[in-house]
């Protein structure tokens, strides 16, 4: 076993998940490919969304993949960073909005 949890080279082995369960892997990769095609949203727009989501779920493989992909598709450095801020703002907001729940609970029990 390797002594660390994430290894950049593992990204290139993603397809290997099919070795243990081919049918489901084929379905996943087929669906994944369809998702990222030009359609109602362009592949370029989807790449930027993927980059933001990659940051929200904090997946290092996805961040590597979609930083490259989004830059290659023509988004500028400042646009990439703004997308990351959108993810961060939603993550931060998601935490903070629970403050209302905290307030509700405190009001419930406080004199």
């Amino acid at each position: 076993m390797s002594n660390h949890y994430y290894n950049a080279e593992d990204l290139n082995k993603f397809g290997d998940v099919g070795k243990y369960q081919k049918e489901l892997a084929d379905k996943f990769f087929g669906w994944y490919g369809e998702v990222f095609k030009d359609s109602a949203l362009s592949a370029k727009e989807k790449s930027l969304i993927a980059l933001a989501v990659a940051h929200a779920v904090q997946c290092p493989y996805c961040i590597d993949a979609y930083s490259s992909d989004a830059f290659e598709k023509g988004w500028s450095e400042s646009q990439l960073m703004e997308a990351v801020h959108v993810a961060a703002a939603i993550k931060g907001g998601a935490a903070l909005v629970h403050g209302v729940q905290m307030m509700n609970k405190v009001k419930e029990i406080a004199m």
Partner: protein, 354 residues
């Protein structure tokens, strides 16, 4: 920014580049890749043979007003190697006796800097008035000196197809690759070309643009990129053009230098190989093109020319041009060829697959 030659870089030597491509940056085989030849064998394309020779590409010299970071020619103002009128006359003779060539593709450096450039175009038209002449114009040459201001009119007068590099529709990426101020001057030059009708629907004057990635990555979809270029250039500058050619940077000369300096060489080569596309391999440009160097030697393509890999037949110089021999030769391949077979493929006319 100076040419590799002016810097006395080891990479100015074609043999050094081939050593790196075959044996890795340290020549020690620590980083080895599947030979391109083996990839072609696997799909029944080796030896790679020409299909039909239709494009006669002539590199009229390495002199250029720009020094771009990715340049595979190592062109620049310091490069004095340019084609003489005598060699051009030999090219004209070949065109006269071989009417199967439908296109003459003039490249450089900045081809317009060759003092015989205009004479050569006029003579080509005399030899074959209906032949399609492409000039690979870097745009900024038009504004670089008063004597070039009338180039758009000259191109129009001879119905030249203009193919121009514009790495991106924004200033930052363009200037990063081609130098400060290049984007602004390129936009002005494109407006001058549009003003005489180039790229304008119904004018019959073709203006195509070339995209190269400004970094260690492959071009995105040519179709999507063309739409982005058209939308942005029209909206921001009122510029129109015909087609966008998305070209992959090949790992030679100054681009190889960039890959090595930035630590991207191995990853880039692996990326090219992972993206190997058999359909693109079947459509590579060297199968229908002959490339003539400034000194009259003949090559399979402009990249082989820069690596000094002459054609593998006895018709090695324009003075001994023999169409039959060239049509039957085996095309010389090496590891840089992965650049033309990655993804949608790449040629001087952009992607080679849909």
């Amino acid at each position: 920014m100076k040419s590799l030659k002016a810097q006395h870089s080891p990479l100015a030597d074609a043999h050094e580049q081939i050593e790196i491509l075959e044996h890795g940056a340290n020549h020690d085989d620590a980083f080895r890749l599947i030979p391109f030849q083996q990839k072609l064998e696997g799909i029944g394309l080796y030896p790679l043979k020409p299909t039909r020779l239709e494009i006669f590409q002539i590199n009229v010299g390495k002199m250029c007003n720009q020094v771009c970071k990715h340049c595979h020619v190592d062109a620049g103002p310091d490069r004095k190697e340019i084609m003489t009128r005598e060699t051009m006359q030999q090219c004209l003779e070949v065109l006269k006796t071989n009417p199967s060539f439908k296109t003459v593709d003039l490249t450089g450096g900045a081809p317009e800097m060759n003092p015989e450039f205009r004479w050569f175009i006029e003579e080509i038209k005399k030899v074959n008035p209906s032949i399609n002449i492409i000039v690979r114009c870097n745009l900024t040459i038009i504004l670089s000196n008063k004597k070039y201001y009338d180039l758009p009119d000259f191109f129009k007068q001879h119905n030249i197809e203009v193919v121009s590099s514009l790495p991106f529709y924004t200033k930052d990426r363009t200037d990063r690759q081609r130098g400060d101020g290049v984007f602004e001057n390129s936009i002005k030059a494109l407006q001058m070309l549009n003003a005489v009708g180039y790229g304008v629907a119904g004018s019959g004057l073709t203006l195509n643009l070339v995209y190269n990635p400004a970094g260690a990555f492959l071009p995105p979809s040519q179709t999507s990129l063309e739409k982005d270029f058209k939308d942005s250039l029209k909206r921001d500058f009122g510029i129109v053009f015909n087609n966008l050619f998305a070209i992959t940077n090949l790992p030679i000369s100054r681009y190889l230098d960039y890959l090595l300096q930035s630590g991207n060489y191995e990853k880039y080569m692996e990326k090219l190989i992972t993206a190997f596309n058999p359909a693109a391999a079947a459509n590579v440009m060297c199968r229908n093109t002959i490339s003539v160097g400034w000194d009259g030697f003949i090559y399979d393509c402009d990249f082989n020319q820069m690596l000094e890999l002459k054609v593998d037949c006895s018709s090695k110089h324009i003075a001994q041009f023999n169409l039959q021999q060239l049509a039957n030769r085996s095309i010389v391949v090496n590891q840089h060829c992965y650049g033309c077979t990655a993804g949608a493929g790449s040629s001087c006319g952009g992607a080679v697959t849909v």
